[in-house]
Amino acid sequence: MSVLPIHGRARVFADDINTDYIISSHRKKETIDPQVLKQYLLEDARPGFAATLGEGDILVAGKNFGCGSAMEVAVTVVLAAGIRAVVAQSFSRTYLRNALNNGLLPVVADTRAIAEGEQLALRMDEQGRLLLDHGQAQPIVCEGLPEFVLNMLQAGGLVAYLKKHRSFDQTLASSSD
Protein backbone atom coordinates (compact mmCIF):
# COMPACT_ATOMS: atom_id res chain seq x y z
CA MET A 1 0.00 0.00 0.00
CA SER A 2 1.73 3.13 -1.23
CA VAL A 3 0.27 5.55 1.29
CA LEU A 4 2.39 3.84 3.95
CA PRO A 5 4.61 4.28 5.87
CA ILE A 6 3.58 7.48 7.58
CA HIS A 7 5.83 9.06 10.20
CA GLY A 8 4.81 11.91 12.46
CA ARG A 9 4.28 13.41 15.84
CA ALA A 10 1.22 12.43 17.91
CA ARG A 11 -1.29 15.19 18.59
CA VAL A 12 -3.64 13.68 21.12
CA PHE A 13 -7.34 14.47 21.62
CA ALA A 14 -10.08 12.94 23.76
CA ASP A 15 -13.26 10.98 22.93
CA ASP A 16 -16.15 12.31 20.82
CA ILE A 17 -14.33 15.04 18.91
CA ASN A 18 -17.21 16.25 16.71
CA THR A 19 -16.95 17.85 13.30
CA ASP A 20 -18.06 21.24 14.67
CA TYR A 21 -14.92 21.12 16.85
CA ILE A 22 -12.74 20.12 13.91
CA ILE A 23 -14.06 23.05 11.90
CA SER A 24 -16.95 25.22 12.98
CA SER A 25 -20.02 25.54 10.74
CA HIS A 26 -19.85 29.32 11.08
CA ARG A 27 -16.31 29.30 9.59
CA LYS A 28 -17.51 27.08 6.76
CA LYS A 29 -20.13 29.57 5.64
CA GLU A 30 -17.37 32.04 4.73
CA THR A 31 -15.41 29.65 2.53
CA ILE A 32 -14.97 25.95 1.87
CA ASP A 33 -11.31 26.41 0.84
CA PRO A 34 -9.39 24.17 3.24
CA GLN A 35 -6.22 26.22 2.77
CA VAL A 36 -8.04 29.13 4.41
CA LEU A 37 -9.98 27.06 6.94
CA LYS A 38 -6.92 25.21 8.25
CA GLN A 39 -6.02 28.15 10.52
CA TYR A 40 -9.22 27.37 12.49
CA LEU A 41 -8.61 23.62 12.83
CA LEU A 42 -9.94 22.35 16.18
CA GLU A 43 -10.13 25.91 17.52
CA ASP A 44 -13.11 25.26 19.81
CA ALA A 45 -11.60 22.07 21.22
CA ARG A 46 -8.09 23.51 21.72
CA PRO A 47 -7.71 27.24 21.04
CA GLY A 48 -4.52 28.04 19.11
CA PHE A 49 -3.99 24.42 18.01
CA ALA A 50 -3.52 25.14 14.30
CA ALA A 51 -0.48 27.32 14.95
CA THR A 52 1.28 24.49 16.81
CA LEU A 53 0.94 21.96 13.99
CA GLY A 54 4.01 20.63 12.24
CA GLU A 55 4.03 19.01 8.81
CA GLY A 56 3.26 15.33 9.13
CA ASP A 57 1.63 15.46 12.56
CA ILE A 58 -0.74 12.57 13.18
CA LEU A 59 -4.05 13.15 14.95
CA VAL A 60 -4.68 10.66 17.75
CA ALA A 61 -8.04 10.43 19.45
CA GLY A 62 -10.24 8.28 21.64
CA LYS A 63 -13.67 6.98 20.65
CA ASN A 64 -16.09 8.32 18.05
CA PHE A 65 -13.80 10.77 16.24
CA GLY A 66 -15.72 13.01 13.82
CA CYS A 67 -19.19 12.55 15.26
CA GLY A 68 -21.98 15.00 14.50
CA SER A 69 -22.36 16.72 11.17
CA ALA A 70 -21.39 14.94 7.96
CA MET A 71 -19.60 18.03 6.63
CA GLU A 72 -16.65 17.03 4.52
CA VAL A 73 -14.55 20.13 5.17
CA ALA A 74 -13.86 18.48 8.53
CA VAL A 75 -11.70 16.06 6.51
CA THR A 76 -10.26 18.38 3.86
CA VAL A 77 -9.16 20.89 6.52
CA VAL A 78 -7.22 18.13 8.28
CA LEU A 79 -5.50 17.18 5.03
CA ALA A 80 -4.77 20.83 4.23
CA ALA A 81 -3.06 21.14 7.60
CA GLY A 82 -0.59 18.48 6.47
CA ILE A 83 -2.09 15.60 8.43
CA ARG A 84 -2.27 12.32 6.48
CA ALA A 85 -3.62 9.96 9.12
CA VAL A 86 -5.97 9.99 12.10
CA VAL A 87 -5.64 7.16 14.60
CA ALA A 88 -8.62 6.68 16.90
CA GLN A 89 -10.32 3.97 18.93
CA SER A 90 -13.34 4.45 16.68
CA PHE A 91 -14.72 6.85 14.09
CA SER A 92 -18.14 8.22 13.37
CA ARG A 93 -19.32 6.57 10.15
CA THR A 94 -19.70 9.76 8.12
CA TYR A 95 -16.22 10.92 9.11
CA LEU A 96 -14.80 7.52 8.23
CA ARG A 97 -16.29 7.54 4.74
CA ASN A 98 -15.39 11.15 4.09
CA ALA A 99 -11.82 10.40 5.18
CA LEU A 100 -11.56 7.36 2.91
CA ASN A 101 -13.11 9.25 -0.01
CA ASN A 102 -10.50 11.99 0.34
CA GLY A 103 -7.47 9.79 0.94
CA LEU A 104 -7.06 10.66 4.63
CA LEU A 105 -6.08 7.41 6.34
CA PRO A 106 -8.44 6.62 9.25
CA VAL A 107 -6.80 4.01 11.46
CA VAL A 108 -8.69 2.20 14.20
CA ALA A 109 -6.39 1.21 17.07
CA ASP A 110 -6.13 1.22 20.84
CA THR A 111 -4.72 4.71 21.33
CA ARG A 112 -4.83 4.84 25.11
CA ALA A 113 -1.07 4.46 25.59
CA ILE A 114 -0.10 7.18 23.10
CA ALA A 115 1.15 10.43 24.61
CA GLU A 116 1.09 13.93 23.15
CA GLY A 117 4.17 14.65 21.07
CA GLU A 118 5.35 11.02 20.76
CA GLN A 119 6.96 10.02 17.48
CA LEU A 120 4.68 7.61 15.60
CA ALA A 121 5.11 5.42 12.56
CA LEU A 122 2.29 3.69 10.70
CA ARG A 123 3.51 0.81 8.60
CA MET A 124 2.47 -2.49 7.05
CA ASP A 125 4.36 -5.63 8.12
CA GLU A 126 5.14 -8.70 6.00
CA GLN A 127 1.85 -10.34 6.97
CA GLY A 128 -0.10 -7.33 5.78
CA ARG A 129 -0.92 -6.15 9.27
CA LEU A 130 -1.21 -2.43 9.87
CA LEU A 131 1.14 -1.52 12.74
CA LEU A 132 1.63 1.63 14.76
CA ASP A 133 5.08 2.17 16.31
CA HIS A 134 5.26 4.52 19.26
CA GLY A 135 7.40 4.95 22.40
CA GLN A 136 6.96 1.31 23.51
CA ALA A 137 8.89 -1.69 22.28
CA GLN A 138 5.76 -3.46 21.03
CA PRO A 139 3.90 -1.82 18.15
CA ILE A 140 0.14 -1.42 18.36
CA VAL A 141 -1.69 -3.72 15.93
CA CYS A 142 -4.34 -1.67 14.11
CA GLU A 143 -7.57 -2.84 12.50
CA GLY A 144 -7.24 -3.71 8.84
CA LEU A 145 -9.24 -2.04 6.08
CA PRO A 146 -11.48 -3.86 3.55
CA GLU A 147 -9.91 -4.49 0.14
CA PHE A 148 -12.24 -2.18 -1.77
CA VAL A 149 -11.41 0.62 0.65
CA LEU A 150 -7.67 -0.05 0.32
CA ASN A 151 -8.04 0.08 -3.46
CA MET A 152 -9.84 3.39 -3.24
CA LEU A 153 -7.21 4.82 -0.90
CA GLN A 154 -4.48 3.63 -3.24
CA ALA A 155 -6.24 5.26 -6.17
CA GLY A 156 -6.10 8.52 -4.18
CA GLY A 157 -9.65 8.51 -2.83
CA LEU A 158 -13.12 8.52 -4.35
CA VAL A 159 -12.50 11.44 -6.71
CA ALA A 160 -9.50 9.79 -8.35
CA TYR A 161 -11.30 6.44 -8.35
CA LEU A 162 -14.40 7.78 -10.09
CA LYS A 163 -12.36 9.97 -12.41
CA LYS A 164 -10.71 6.80 -13.65
CA HIS A 165 -13.64 4.35 -13.55
CA ARG A 166 -16.63 6.74 -14.03
CA SER A 167 -18.79 4.43 -11.90
CA PHE A 168 -18.54 1.63 -9.36
CA ASP A 169 -19.50 -1.00 -11.94
CA GLN A 170 -16.08 -2.69 -11.74
CA THR A 171 -16.36 -2.76 -7.96
CA LEU A 172 -19.79 -4.38 -8.15
CA ALA A 173 -18.35 -7.43 -9.84
CA SER A 174 -15.52 -7.78 -7.36
CA SER A 175 -17.54 -7.12 -4.20
CA SER A 176 -20.14 -9.78 -4.90
CA ASP A 177 -17.75 -12.70 -4.79
Partner: protein, 422 residues
Amino acid sequence: MNGLTIAEKILSRSLGRTVQAGELVICQPDFAMGTDGSIPMALDYLKQMNDGHVCPPRYPERLLFALDHYGTASGPKALGLQGQARDYAHAHGVWVADVGQGIGHQLVLESGLARPGRVMVGADSHSTSYGAFNTFATGIGSSDLAGILLCGQVWLKVPASIRITLQGRLAPGVAAKDLALHLSRQLRADGANYCALEFGGSGVASLDMDDRIVLANMAVEMGAKVGVFPCDEVTVSCLEALGVRDYQPVAADSDARYQSQLEIDLGQVRPQLALPHRVDNVIDVRDVSATKVDMVYLGTCTGGRVKDYREALTELQARGGIADGVHLVVTPASETVRAQLEREGVLAAFEHMGATIQPPGCGSCCGTCGVTPASQSTVLSTANRNFKGRMGNAQASIYLASPRVCAIAAATGELNADGVPA
Protein backbone atom coordinates in the same frame (compact mmCIF):
# COMPACT_ATOMS: atom_id res chain seq x y z
CA MET B 1 -29.27 -18.63 6.70
CA ASN B 2 -30.89 -16.50 9.37
CA GLY B 3 -33.62 -13.97 8.61
CA LEU B 4 -33.05 -10.35 7.73
CA THR B 5 -33.44 -7.04 9.54
CA ILE B 6 -35.34 -4.17 7.93
CA ALA B 7 -32.06 -2.53 6.91
CA GLU B 8 -30.73 -5.76 5.33
CA LYS B 9 -34.04 -6.35 3.56
CA ILE B 10 -34.32 -2.89 2.03
CA LEU B 11 -30.75 -3.03 0.76
CA SER B 12 -31.23 -6.60 -0.51
CA ARG B 13 -34.30 -5.58 -2.45
CA SER B 14 -32.51 -2.58 -3.89
CA LEU B 15 -29.55 -4.73 -4.97
CA GLY B 16 -31.59 -7.66 -6.26
CA ARG B 17 -29.64 -10.11 -4.12
CA THR B 18 -29.55 -11.00 -0.45
CA VAL B 19 -26.98 -9.07 1.53
CA GLN B 20 -26.23 -9.18 5.22
CA ALA B 21 -24.58 -7.03 7.85
CA GLY B 22 -20.90 -6.41 7.22
CA GLU B 23 -20.93 -6.62 3.40
CA LEU B 24 -19.71 -3.68 1.35
CA VAL B 25 -22.13 -2.97 -1.48
CA ILE B 26 -22.63 -0.50 -4.30
CA CYS B 27 -26.12 0.97 -4.18
CA GLN B 28 -28.25 3.07 -6.49
CA PRO B 29 -30.20 5.24 -4.05
CA ASP B 30 -33.80 5.99 -4.98
CA PHE B 31 -33.29 9.52 -3.77
CA ALA B 32 -30.55 11.92 -2.71
CA MET B 33 -30.71 15.29 -1.01
CA GLY B 34 -28.09 17.98 -0.73
CA THR B 35 -28.04 21.34 1.00
CA ASP B 36 -26.31 24.66 0.44
CA GLY B 37 -23.98 23.46 3.19
CA SER B 38 -22.85 20.41 1.20
CA ILE B 39 -23.62 20.97 -2.51
CA PRO B 40 -20.95 23.61 -3.32
CA MET B 41 -18.25 21.21 -2.19
CA ALA B 42 -19.93 18.35 -4.08
CA LEU B 43 -19.78 20.42 -7.25
CA ASP B 44 -16.04 20.98 -6.67
CA TYR B 45 -15.59 17.22 -6.38
CA LEU B 46 -17.73 16.65 -9.46
CA LYS B 47 -15.46 18.96 -11.45
CA GLN B 48 -12.42 17.02 -10.29
CA MET B 49 -14.07 13.73 -11.28
CA ASN B 50 -15.08 15.10 -14.67
CA ASP B 51 -11.97 16.79 -16.12
CA GLY B 52 -12.52 20.22 -14.64
CA HIS B 53 -16.17 20.90 -15.36
CA VAL B 54 -19.48 19.85 -13.88
CA CYS B 55 -21.66 17.40 -15.78
CA PRO B 56 -25.45 16.98 -15.59
CA PRO B 57 -26.66 14.67 -12.84
CA ARG B 58 -27.13 11.04 -13.85
CA TYR B 59 -30.67 10.99 -12.40
CA PRO B 60 -31.94 14.57 -11.89
CA GLU B 61 -35.41 13.32 -10.98
CA ARG B 62 -34.02 11.58 -7.89
CA LEU B 63 -32.60 14.75 -6.35
CA LEU B 64 -33.63 17.58 -4.06
CA PHE B 65 -31.35 20.55 -3.45
CA ALA B 66 -32.47 22.36 -0.30
CA LEU B 67 -31.13 25.88 0.31
CA ASP B 68 -31.76 25.71 4.03
CA HIS B 69 -28.51 26.45 5.87
CA TYR B 70 -27.95 29.98 4.57
CA GLY B 71 -30.11 33.08 4.18
CA THR B 72 -29.59 36.81 3.93
CA ALA B 73 -28.37 36.79 7.54
CA SER B 74 -25.49 34.48 6.57
CA GLY B 75 -23.48 37.08 4.67
CA PRO B 76 -22.40 37.50 1.06
CA LYS B 77 -19.86 34.66 0.97
CA ALA B 78 -22.39 32.09 2.16
CA LEU B 79 -24.88 33.40 -0.37
CA GLY B 80 -22.22 33.01 -3.05
CA LEU B 81 -21.79 29.35 -2.16
CA GLN B 82 -25.56 28.95 -2.09
CA GLY B 83 -25.79 30.51 -5.56
CA GLN B 84 -23.58 27.74 -6.95
CA ALA B 85 -26.07 25.12 -5.76
CA ARG B 86 -29.05 27.05 -7.12
CA ASP B 87 -27.43 27.64 -10.52
CA TYR B 88 -26.54 23.97 -10.98
CA ALA B 89 -30.07 22.90 -10.01
CA HIS B 90 -31.68 25.38 -12.40
CA ALA B 91 -29.37 24.40 -15.23
CA HIS B 92 -30.07 20.68 -14.88
CA GLY B 93 -33.72 20.39 -13.91
CA VAL B 94 -33.11 19.48 -10.28
CA TRP B 95 -35.88 20.33 -7.83
CA VAL B 96 -34.51 23.16 -5.73
CA ALA B 97 -36.19 24.32 -2.53
CA ASP B 98 -35.08 27.91 -2.23
CA VAL B 99 -34.41 30.00 0.85
CA GLY B 100 -37.41 30.19 3.16
CA GLN B 101 -39.11 27.02 1.96
CA GLY B 102 -37.70 25.08 4.86
CA ILE B 103 -35.24 22.46 6.02
CA GLY B 104 -34.55 19.88 3.34
CA HIS B 105 -35.37 16.96 5.62
CA GLN B 106 -38.77 18.41 6.46
CA LEU B 107 -39.49 19.01 2.77
CA VAL B 108 -38.57 15.41 1.90
CA LEU B 109 -40.98 14.18 4.57
CA GLU B 110 -43.80 16.60 3.69
CA SER B 111 -43.62 15.92 -0.02
CA GLY B 112 -44.07 12.17 0.21
CA LEU B 113 -40.58 11.36 -1.07
CA ALA B 114 -39.85 9.23 1.98
CA ARG B 115 -41.61 5.97 1.12
CA PRO B 116 -41.40 2.52 2.65
CA GLY B 117 -38.73 0.35 1.04
CA ARG B 118 -36.68 3.17 -0.45
CA VAL B 119 -32.92 3.62 -0.16
CA MET B 120 -32.40 7.32 0.52
CA VAL B 121 -29.29 9.37 1.18
CA GLY B 122 -28.65 12.98 2.00
CA ALA B 123 -25.50 15.06 2.22
CA ASP B 124 -26.43 16.05 5.74
CA SER B 125 -26.21 13.87 8.82
CA HIS B 126 -29.87 14.21 9.79
CA SER B 127 -31.01 12.44 6.62
CA THR B 128 -31.64 9.52 8.97
CA SER B 129 -35.00 11.26 9.62
CA TYR B 130 -36.62 9.58 6.60
CA GLY B 131 -36.36 6.20 8.34
CA ALA B 132 -39.55 7.19 10.18
CA PHE B 133 -41.31 6.17 6.94
CA ASN B 134 -39.75 2.68 6.84
CA THR B 135 -36.91 3.71 4.52
CA PHE B 136 -33.18 2.98 4.65
CA ALA B 137 -31.96 6.56 4.97
CA THR B 138 -28.50 7.74 5.84
CA GLY B 139 -26.17 10.73 5.76
CA ILE B 140 -23.33 11.03 3.30
CA GLY B 141 -20.64 13.60 2.56
CA SER B 142 -20.12 15.92 -0.39
CA SER B 143 -17.81 13.58 -2.30
CA ASP B 144 -20.43 10.83 -2.06
CA LEU B 145 -23.02 13.25 -3.39
CA ALA B 146 -20.67 14.10 -6.25
CA GLY B 147 -20.40 10.39 -7.00
CA ILE B 148 -24.19 10.15 -7.09
CA LEU B 149 -24.38 13.13 -9.46
CA LEU B 150 -21.79 11.46 -11.69
CA CYS B 151 -23.00 7.86 -11.77
CA GLY B 152 -26.01 7.50 -9.47
CA GLN B 153 -24.15 5.13 -7.17
CA VAL B 154 -22.77 5.11 -3.65
CA TRP B 155 -20.74 2.58 -1.66
CA LEU B 156 -22.27 1.41 1.60
CA LYS B 157 -21.55 -1.13 4.28
CA VAL B 158 -24.63 -3.11 5.20
CA PRO B 159 -25.11 -2.21 8.87
CA ALA B 160 -25.72 -4.56 11.75
CA SER B 161 -28.93 -3.64 13.59
CA ILE B 162 -29.78 -2.86 17.17
CA ARG B 163 -33.37 -3.68 17.95
CA ILE B 164 -35.16 -1.15 20.15
CA THR B 165 -38.37 -2.75 21.41
CA LEU B 166 -40.87 -0.21 22.69
CA GLN B 167 -43.69 -1.16 25.06
CA GLY B 168 -46.59 0.86 26.43
CA ARG B 169 -46.99 4.57 25.78
CA LEU B 170 -45.36 7.81 26.85
CA ALA B 171 -46.82 9.46 29.96
CA PRO B 172 -48.69 12.75 29.51
CA GLY B 173 -46.22 15.61 29.10
CA VAL B 174 -43.42 13.31 27.96
CA ALA B 175 -42.34 13.71 24.34
CA ALA B 176 -40.51 11.74 21.68
CA LYS B 177 -37.58 14.11 22.30
CA ASP B 178 -37.41 12.83 25.88
CA LEU B 179 -37.28 9.27 24.54
CA ALA B 180 -34.53 10.24 22.08
CA LEU B 181 -32.45 11.82 24.86
CA HIS B 182 -33.19 8.81 27.08
CA LEU B 183 -31.81 6.56 24.33
CA SER B 184 -28.76 8.78 23.90
CA ARG B 185 -28.19 8.55 27.65
CA GLN B 186 -28.34 4.75 27.53
CA LEU B 187 -26.47 4.09 24.29
CA ARG B 188 -24.10 7.09 24.50
CA ALA B 189 -22.85 9.13 21.56
CA ASP B 190 -21.16 6.15 19.90
CA GLY B 191 -23.37 3.32 21.15
CA ALA B 192 -24.91 2.68 17.75
CA ASN B 193 -21.84 3.47 15.63
CA TYR B 194 -22.17 2.06 12.09
CA CYS B 195 -25.44 0.34 13.11
CA ALA B 196 -29.08 0.60 12.20
CA LEU B 197 -31.44 1.37 15.06
CA GLU B 198 -34.53 -0.68 14.28
CA PHE B 199 -37.57 0.35 16.29
CA GLY B 200 -40.28 -2.20 16.95
CA GLY B 201 -42.67 -3.55 19.55
CA SER B 202 -46.24 -2.76 20.48
CA GLY B 203 -45.30 0.71 21.72
CA VAL B 204 -44.51 1.92 18.21
CA ALA B 205 -48.22 2.23 17.46
CA SER B 206 -48.56 4.90 20.15
CA LEU B 207 -46.00 7.13 18.42
CA ASP B 208 -47.32 9.42 15.69
CA MET B 209 -45.25 10.24 12.60
CA ASP B 210 -43.77 13.40 14.14
CA ASP B 211 -42.57 11.35 17.12
CA ARG B 212 -40.98 8.78 14.82
CA ILE B 213 -39.23 11.50 12.86
CA VAL B 214 -37.64 12.84 16.06
CA LEU B 215 -36.31 9.38 16.92
CA ALA B 216 -35.04 8.58 13.41
CA ASN B 217 -33.53 12.06 13.23
CA MET B 218 -31.65 11.69 16.50
CA ALA B 219 -30.49 8.12 15.81
CA VAL B 220 -27.39 9.73 14.32
CA GLU B 221 -26.59 11.33 17.68
CA MET B 222 -25.87 7.80 18.90
CA GLY B 223 -23.71 7.17 15.85
CA ALA B 224 -26.37 5.21 13.95
CA LYS B 225 -26.27 4.92 10.19
CA VAL B 226 -30.06 4.66 10.02
CA GLY B 227 -33.00 4.79 12.40
CA VAL B 228 -35.82 2.76 10.90
CA PHE B 229 -39.44 2.18 11.84
CA PRO B 230 -41.84 -0.51 10.63
CA CYS B 231 -44.62 0.41 8.20
CA ASP B 232 -47.90 0.28 10.15
CA GLU B 233 -51.32 1.94 10.15
CA VAL B 234 -49.80 5.26 11.20
CA THR B 235 -47.41 5.15 8.23
CA VAL B 236 -50.11 4.09 5.80
CA SER B 237 -52.50 6.85 6.84
CA CYS B 238 -49.71 9.46 6.59
CA LEU B 239 -48.84 8.24 3.10
CA GLU B 240 -52.49 8.31 2.13
CA ALA B 241 -52.78 11.92 3.32
CA LEU B 242 -49.73 12.72 1.16
CA GLY B 243 -51.31 11.00 -1.83
CA VAL B 244 -48.59 8.35 -1.99
CA ARG B 245 -49.68 4.93 -3.24
CA ASP B 246 -46.52 3.49 -4.71
CA TYR B 247 -44.45 1.93 -1.94
CA GLN B 248 -43.20 -1.39 -0.64
CA PRO B 249 -43.40 -1.92 3.12
CA VAL B 250 -40.53 -3.89 4.59
CA ALA B 251 -40.79 -5.87 7.82
CA ALA B 252 -38.00 -7.63 9.69
CA ASP B 253 -37.98 -11.44 9.65
CA SER B 254 -38.90 -13.04 12.94
CA ASP B 255 -35.49 -14.74 13.02
CA ALA B 256 -33.51 -11.64 12.01
CA ARG B 257 -30.13 -11.35 13.69
CA TYR B 258 -29.49 -8.29 15.86
CA GLN B 259 -26.21 -7.10 17.27
CA SER B 260 -28.00 -6.25 20.48
CA GLN B 261 -31.48 -5.55 21.81
CA LEU B 262 -32.87 -2.90 24.09
CA GLU B 263 -36.34 -2.90 25.64
CA ILE B 264 -37.94 0.33 26.70
CA ASP B 265 -41.13 0.78 28.69
CA LEU B 266 -42.36 4.09 27.29
CA GLY B 267 -44.36 4.76 30.46
CA GLN B 268 -41.11 4.92 32.45
CA VAL B 269 -39.48 7.61 30.29
CA ARG B 270 -39.23 10.95 32.11
CA PRO B 271 -38.55 14.44 30.78
CA GLN B 272 -34.86 14.53 29.87
CA LEU B 273 -32.26 17.26 29.55
CA ALA B 274 -28.92 17.18 27.74
CA LEU B 275 -26.37 19.34 29.53
CA PRO B 276 -23.56 21.18 27.75
CA HIS B 277 -21.67 20.19 25.63
CA ARG B 278 -22.71 16.64 24.80
CA VAL B 279 -25.92 15.09 23.50
CA ASP B 280 -25.35 12.08 25.77
CA ASN B 281 -24.72 14.17 28.88
CA VAL B 282 -28.31 13.59 29.92
CA ILE B 283 -30.15 13.86 33.23
CA ASP B 284 -33.80 13.79 34.34
CA VAL B 285 -35.19 17.32 34.26
CA ARG B 286 -36.31 16.79 37.87
CA ASP B 287 -32.64 16.50 38.88
CA VAL B 288 -31.49 19.78 37.33
CA SER B 289 -30.13 22.46 39.62
CA ALA B 290 -31.97 25.71 38.86
CA THR B 291 -30.25 27.58 36.03
CA LYS B 292 -31.16 30.98 34.63
CA VAL B 293 -32.00 30.83 30.92
CA ASP B 294 -31.17 33.63 28.45
CA MET B 295 -32.32 32.24 25.13
CA VAL B 296 -34.85 29.56 24.21
CA TYR B 297 -34.79 28.18 20.68
CA LEU B 298 -37.80 26.42 19.16
CA GLY B 299 -37.00 24.98 15.76
CA THR B 300 -34.78 22.64 13.68
CA CYS B 301 -35.40 19.33 11.91
CA THR B 302 -35.81 17.79 15.38
CA GLY B 303 -38.15 20.21 17.10
CA GLY B 304 -39.66 22.63 14.59
CA ARG B 305 -42.94 20.99 13.56
CA VAL B 306 -46.53 22.08 14.19
CA LYS B 307 -47.07 19.79 17.17
CA ASP B 308 -43.90 21.13 18.83
CA TYR B 309 -45.14 24.71 18.66
CA ARG B 310 -48.64 23.83 19.82
CA GLU B 311 -47.22 22.09 22.89
CA ALA B 312 -44.81 24.94 23.59
CA LEU B 313 -47.50 27.58 23.25
CA THR B 314 -49.84 25.76 25.64
CA GLU B 315 -47.14 25.80 28.34
CA LEU B 316 -46.28 29.45 27.73
CA GLN B 317 -49.92 30.58 27.81
CA ALA B 318 -50.57 28.64 31.01
CA ARG B 319 -47.77 30.63 32.63
CA GLY B 320 -48.51 34.10 31.31
CA GLY B 321 -46.02 34.25 28.42
CA ILE B 322 -42.27 34.74 28.16
CA ALA B 323 -40.33 35.70 31.28
CA ASP B 324 -38.43 38.99 31.34
CA GLY B 325 -34.89 38.62 30.08
CA VAL B 326 -35.57 35.53 27.97
CA HIS B 327 -35.15 35.75 24.21
CA LEU B 328 -37.50 33.23 22.60
CA VAL B 329 -36.66 32.42 18.98
CA VAL B 330 -39.10 30.53 16.75
CA THR B 331 -37.86 29.04 13.46
CA PRO B 332 -40.45 26.77 11.80
CA ALA B 333 -38.99 23.75 10.01
CA SER B 334 -40.76 24.63 6.76
CA GLU B 335 -43.04 27.14 5.08
CA THR B 336 -45.83 24.56 5.30
CA VAL B 337 -45.33 24.41 9.06
CA ARG B 338 -45.17 28.21 9.26
CA ALA B 339 -48.37 28.65 7.23
CA GLN B 340 -50.21 26.11 9.39
CA LEU B 341 -49.07 27.92 12.55
CA GLU B 342 -50.26 31.16 11.04
CA ARG B 343 -53.70 29.69 10.23
CA GLU B 344 -54.05 28.38 13.77
CA GLY B 345 -53.04 31.72 15.30
CA VAL B 346 -50.05 30.06 16.98
CA LEU B 347 -47.53 32.27 15.23
CA ALA B 348 -49.43 35.43 16.14
CA ALA B 349 -49.59 34.29 19.76
CA PHE B 350 -45.80 33.78 19.84
CA GLU B 351 -45.28 37.17 18.23
CA HIS B 352 -47.65 38.83 20.67
CA MET B 353 -45.59 37.42 23.54
CA GLY B 354 -42.48 39.01 22.09
CA ALA B 355 -40.84 36.01 20.41
CA THR B 356 -38.54 36.54 17.44
CA ILE B 357 -39.87 34.69 14.40
CA GLN B 358 -37.18 33.64 11.91
CA PRO B 359 -37.86 32.42 8.36
CA PRO B 360 -38.20 28.63 7.93
CA GLY B 361 -34.87 26.82 7.59
CA CYS B 362 -31.96 25.62 9.71
CA GLY B 363 -31.77 29.05 11.33
CA SER B 364 -29.60 29.26 14.44
CA CYS B 365 -29.10 25.49 14.87
CA CYS B 366 -25.52 25.36 13.60
CA GLY B 367 -24.69 29.04 13.67
CA THR B 368 -25.11 29.60 9.95
CA CYS B 369 -28.21 31.81 9.75
CA GLY B 370 -30.00 34.06 12.21
CA VAL B 371 -29.80 34.85 15.90
CA THR B 372 -26.52 33.83 17.55
CA PRO B 373 -26.42 33.36 21.33
CA ALA B 374 -24.45 35.89 23.38
CA SER B 375 -21.23 35.02 25.18
CA GLN B 376 -21.69 33.46 28.61
CA SER B 377 -25.37 32.94 27.82
CA THR B 378 -27.41 29.85 28.60
CA VAL B 379 -29.48 28.50 25.71
CA LEU B 380 -32.21 25.89 25.90
CA SER B 381 -33.11 24.40 22.54
CA THR B 382 -35.33 21.84 20.85
CA ALA B 383 -32.41 21.03 18.51
CA ASN B 384 -30.36 17.85 18.26
CA ARG B 385 -26.81 19.01 19.12
CA ASN B 386 -25.30 21.09 21.91
CA PHE B 387 -21.60 20.96 21.06
CA LYS B 388 -19.57 23.93 22.18
CA GLY B 389 -19.80 26.55 19.45
CA ARG B 390 -22.61 24.74 17.69
CA MET B 391 -24.83 27.82 17.45
CA GLY B 392 -21.97 30.04 16.37
CA ASN B 393 -20.58 31.11 19.74
CA ALA B 394 -18.25 28.85 21.73
CA GLN B 395 -18.86 31.02 24.81
CA ALA B 396 -22.52 29.97 25.05
CA SER B 397 -23.81 26.89 26.90
CA ILE B 398 -26.49 24.90 25.10
CA TYR B 399 -28.99 22.58 26.78
CA LEU B 400 -31.37 20.33 24.83
CA ALA B 401 -34.90 19.34 25.79
CA SER B 402 -38.43 18.78 24.51
CA PRO B 403 -40.51 21.73 23.22
CA ARG B 404 -42.59 21.56 26.40
CA VAL B 405 -39.60 21.73 28.75
CA CYS B 406 -38.10 24.53 26.65
CA ALA B 407 -41.35 26.51 26.82
CA ILE B 408 -41.69 26.09 30.57
CA ALA B 409 -38.17 27.48 31.01
CA ALA B 410 -38.98 30.36 28.66
CA ALA B 411 -42.00 31.18 30.81
CA THR B 412 -40.25 30.96 34.16
CA GLY B 413 -36.86 32.30 33.05
CA GLU B 414 -35.24 29.34 34.67
CA LEU B 415 -34.42 25.75 33.92
CA ASN B 416 -35.82 23.83 36.87
CA ALA B 417 -37.98 20.86 37.83
CA ASP B 418 -41.14 22.87 38.47
CA GLY B 419 -44.08 22.11 36.24
CA VAL B 420 -42.39 19.18 34.56
CA PRO B 421 -43.98 15.75 35.00
CA ALA B 422 -41.82 13.87 37.49
